[in-house]
């Protein structure tokens, strides 16, 4: 049943044995050991499991791992720069109080990354629309929206990628 597949996660290729039905979130968490990807519902409703696949936000809890071969997967662990510096989105989340319990945070940060990559200067409405698939029960979203706006500002003025 199990087959060995290669998954490229955060620039590194992992060889993992998977069943055809194994979900990407479970493989990332349990087999690769990157537990930053969270499971809040297991049904693609809450967005906590969001990862980027070829730059697009994808719900890893409803994505089959075998379907991700040959694609570039980015998880929250791949957001930090090589020198350990936080990505401007991560820094903005910390500075603006956009983190409380933190369980939605990895998915929220990655969704924001995909949004800003496409639309570097989003309006408030565009930010809200961009993260509408990610549920946060703690913050009331206000500080998250503000943090994303601030990160957009930093990225476009300082040119940080």
């Amino acid at each position: 049943m199990k087959q060995l597949i290669e998954l490229e996660i955060n620039g590194r290729v992992y060889e993992v044995p998977v069943n055809p039905r194994d979900l990407l979130a479970d493989v990332i968490r349990n087999k690769v050991g990157l537990t930053g990807t969270k499971k809040g519902c297991g049904q693609g409703d809450c967005g906590a499991c969001t990862v980027l696949i070829d730059g697009e936000p994808v719900l890893s809890c409803i994505t089959l791992a075998i379907a991700c071969q040959g694609k570039k997967i980015t998880t929250i662990e791949g957001m930090v720069a090589d020198d350990g510096k936080l990505h401007p989105i991560q820094q903005a989340f910390v500075d603006h109080g956009a983190v409380q319990c933190g369980f939605c945070t990895p998915g929220m940060v990655l969704t924001s990354k995909a949004l800003l990559d496409k639309n570097p200067r989003p309006s408030e409405e565009e930010i809200k629309r961009g993260i509408a698939g990610n549920i946060c029960r703690c913050t009331g979203y206000k500080k998250i929206v503000e943090a994303i706006g601030a990160a957009a500002e930093t990225i476009s003025t300082e040119g940080v990628k």
């Binding site: 968490r29 990157l34 537990t35 930053g36 990807t37 969270k38 499971k39 809040g40 519902c41 297991g42 049904q43 693609g44 409703d45 809450c46 906590a48 998880t75 929250i76 662990e77 957001m79 930090v80 936080l86 991560q90 820094q91 989340f93 910390v94 500075d95 603006h96 109080g97 983190v99 409380q100 319990c101 933190g102 369980f103 939605c104 945070t105 990895p106 940060v109 930010i127 809200k128 629309r129 993260i131 509408a132 698939g133 990610n134 549920i135 946060c136 029960r137 703690c138 913050t139 009331g140 979203y141 206000k142 500080k143 998250i144 929206v145």
Partner: protein, 770 residues
């Protein structure tokens, strides 16, 4: 009054922020231990049935299955309130709600555990299902949910203060109405997870759990597993939200521990989202009747409150929630005469429990909507009526609730001025409306849930050259940020910087005693204990510093990591140097502080007689707030859209204003969910219809309104650092402010929640007919 703070009052980023944004914070579900097995719980497919037989022989035969347990193996009853403890780890003999655990499996991996559940055969004899509290009471003679509750009522209470009947007889304005609130769940994002590791050699059990109450979990584990507390250690990894839903032990905790003890390996149990809904412990639906009487000048003379709480299958926090709803009618307005008749009823639904703003949200909805209507009857602004009746510092209610400090009027004034309420109310075009509501909540609690006089919090501060400052306290940071706030308060008290302080919390072995995160108690309670512990440390360090700088110890002040003489500021020395000198001479320095809340009797002040349950709702101080909410009601679709929220809150001295704002904004969206979208639905057999985050509708970023919040200038001189609460008060006004705004928009007063588009359209149609 000392407001000359430099660490308290700073909007510092939270301690665990960087780890969380990097995905490096470890939650219980992220943990893997050597030889760890995976546990899953088999759940009932009936809402009310006798368990005739459980056959798990086939499950045990499945390769990879390590153990199966049923309720008989651990039949001791547990409950957060010991007087009404009636829950078991897994059902014994009978199930009382759909989804109740009947057996649990441990296996080498999750897939095997899942497969094993299918192989467990349970034979049920279905019983009639009671889903409505009125029906529960009415049919009690024929269907009984618990043997010891012949009327299907957990508990009923009647409280009388003053003479409400006489007062009503003399009132110029009287309004009596019925209200109904909905069945809502916390929907924290991290499902319950528990990881237990029992060491067969030492007989020691360690449990890592997503709980808000390490201490109460510790106690319940001790009861259910029949183990002394000193053989159990509860540790909290990062917690993905709680809002009250993790304010009790869960069957995940018990099953993980029981299975681990049985097989001598670590066992992890993680709930699926539908299990979070099925085990619920969310807000009690309330069927309320309220009567308010005013004299000709608009002063409240009496309130009569009748509340039937739908409690679901077990007791849980029920009796406490019930008496809180009664207590909550006594503030934030002066009520000289009051009566409350309350009862908490069993039904065959997942149990209700504690949820953000416990016991306050439901009566607040009724009272604030009714005062809005009474103001209209009198021809005055709701603002005027509420200002007239608002309590002030030093107020003592007829039920003996004492308010040492209060800026409620300032909250009302601020929100009204900033929102332009008086220019807009009653003057906006049809479909647009503005509504005002006040609210308050306890800050700290006065009593433990079991009979004990012990301090509610103990803080141990350790100072040495190795760790700098380490604060030990088993409080639970569930995301609200108490570790950050405790560090700020400790830094303030010790004269060092927030960044210098380490906090060791959420562990019953490493941390000193704390009751847990509920009742908006942690900032106040830990703050008091921190102050006491720090004073001990400061005294000892000052004695050493005095010798070093050449002055008397009592002439020294400590600020910005320096000791200096207040008379000769040039006589100064760095804090580290003093610590080094002390450590070299004496060794590690520790200070300890405790907090025991003041207790008041729950009495009727007019007669001086004790009233049952009236001490519930007492607290050292109270937080207050006002919200003014503007809505757009779409006349064609019935959809209510919250456009703007203007909030002003009295949380005492804000330790971390950014964190306070986060609590306020989170509360507003939380309240909007209950007001407009959220409701758990149950089919006629008692099965949950929408136990998923797809079908249970939570607010998303698209629902985020403009929020203008103000922390009003406030300092409670009786509180440590002047603090109050900010986590549960701000949800109180949200629902009634929305309901009042909807009335202002379309002239319809909604008295049941949520205010869905269907209800709005129906009401608009009805209005046209009339």
């Amino acid at each position: 009054m000392n407001k000359n703070f430099n660490q308290v009052g700073r909007s510092v980023p939270r301690k665990d922020g960087p780890l969380k944004v990097k995905g490096e914070a470890i939650y219980t579900g992220d943990m893997v231990l050597p030889r760890m097995a995976y546990g899953r719980i088999k759940r009932s497919t009936y809402a009310h049935a006798i368990i005739k037989k459980i056959d798990y022989s086939k499950a045990l035969e499945l390769p990879g299955v390590l153990a199966v347990i049923t309720g008989e193996e651990a039949p001791n009853k547990w409950g957060i309130v010991p007087q009404t403890a009636n829950e078991v780890a897994l059902a014994v003999g009978k199930v009382r709600f759909w989804g109740e655990g009947v057996a649990a499996v441990a296996a080498i991996d999750e897939e095997t555990a899942e497969e094993a559940l299918e192989l467990i055969e349970v034979e049920y004899e279905p019983l009639p299902v009671l889903l409505d509290p009125k029906e529960s009471i009415g049919r009690a003679s024929e269907v009984r949910i618990h043997e010891d509750a012949s009327d299907n009522i957990l508990h009923a209470g009647e409280q009388l203060f003053g003479d409400p009947d006489k007062a009503f007889a003399e009132c110029a304005y009287i309004l009596e109405k019925e209200f109904q609130t909905s069945y809502v769940n916390h929907a924290f994002l991290e499902p319950h997870t528990s990881l237990a590791s029992y060491d067969t050699q030492s007989g020691q059990l360690q449990v890592w759990s997503s709980t808000q109450v390490p201490h109460y979990l510790h106690r319940q584990l001790s009861i259910v597993l029949e183990m002394p507390m000193n053989k159990i250690r509860v540790t909290l990894p990062a917690i993905g939200g709680g809002f009250g839903g993790k304010g009790e032990a869960s069957s995940a905790d018990f099953c993980a521990a029981l299975l681990s003890r049985k097989i001598g390996r670590p066992v992890k149990v993680t709930y699926e989202r539908n299990e979070v809904f099925a085990t619920n412990k969310g807000r009690h639906p309330c069927y309320m009747k309220m009567k308010i009487g005013l004299d000709k000048d608009g002063y409240i003379q009496a309130v009569d409150f009748n509340n039937t709480l739908d409690g679901g299958a077990y007791a849980g926090w029920g009796i406490v929630v019930m008496f809180y709803t009664a207590s909550m009618i006594h503030l934030p307005y002066k009520v000289p005469n009051a009566r409350a008749r309350v009862r908490r009823v069993y039904t065959n639904k997942p149990t209700c429990g504690a949820m953000r703003g416990l016991g306050g949200v439901q009566p607040r909805f009724a009272m604030e909507c009714m005062l809005d209507e009474l103001a209209e009857m009198m021809g005055v602004s709701p603002y005027e009526l509420k200002m007239k009746n608002a309590v002030e510092s030093g107020y003592r209610s007829v039920s003996n609730l004492h308010v040492p400090h209060c800026e409620y009027k300032k909250c009302l004034q601020t929100a009204v001025e900033k929102s332009g309420y008086l220019d807009k109310h009653g003057k906006l075009p049809f479909g647009k409306g503005i509504g005002l509501s006040g609210g308050y909540y306890i800050s700290g609690t006065a009593y433990t849930l079991y009979q004990a006089y012990k301090p509610h919090t103990t803080v141990l501060i350790r100072v040495d050259t190795e760790g700098g400052v380490t604060v030990h306290c088993a409080a639970a940071d569930i995301g609200q940020g108490c570790n950050t706030v405790m560090a700020q308060m400790a830094a303030e008290a010790l004269g060092v910087h927030y960044e210098d302080v380490h906090v060791v919390s959420g562990d019953t072995e490493l941390g000193t005693f704390d009751l847990g995160s509920f009742a908006s108690r942690v900032t106040y309670a830990s703050g008091a204990a921190i102050k006491e512990a720090a004073a001990e440390i400061n005294q000892k360090l000052k004695e050493v510093a005095a010798g070093m700088v050449g002055c008397r110890a009592d002439q020294l002040e400590i600020k910005d990591r320096r000791f200096y003489s207040k008379f000769e500021p040039r006589k100064a020395i760095e804090w580290e140097k003093v610590v080094e000198a002390y450590t070299n001479a004496v060794g590690t320095l520790t200070g300890i502080g405790h907090f025991s809340p003041p207790r008041l009797k729950g009495i009727d002040l007019t007669r001086g007689v004790r009233v049952q349950g009236a001490n519930i709702g007492h607290s050292p101080t109270f937080g207050f707030s006002c919200q003014i909410i503007e809505v757009d009601v779409d006349i064609d679709t019935g959809r209510v859209r919250v456009v703007k929220v203007t909030e002003a809150g009295d949380c005492g001295q804000a330790v971390n204003p950014m964190s306070v704002e986060g609590q306020v904004e989170g509360s507003i969206l939380f309240g909007m969910g209950q007001a407009l979208y959220e409701e758990m639905k149950v089919d006629p057999q008692g099965k949950l219809i929408n136990p998923s985050l797809h079908d249970y509708k939570l607010p998303t970023a698209m629902e985020l309104p403009e929020i203008d919040s103000t922390i009003v200038d406030s300092y409670d001189p009786t509180a440590p650092f002047g603090v109050k609460e900010s986590g549960e008060g701000p949800i109180q006004p949200t629902i009634p402010a929305i309901a009042n705004a909807v009335y202002d928009a379309i002239g319809v007063r909604f008295t049941d929640l949520p205010i869905t588009p269907e209800k709005v359209l129906k009401a608009l149609k009805q209005k046209k007919v009339n």
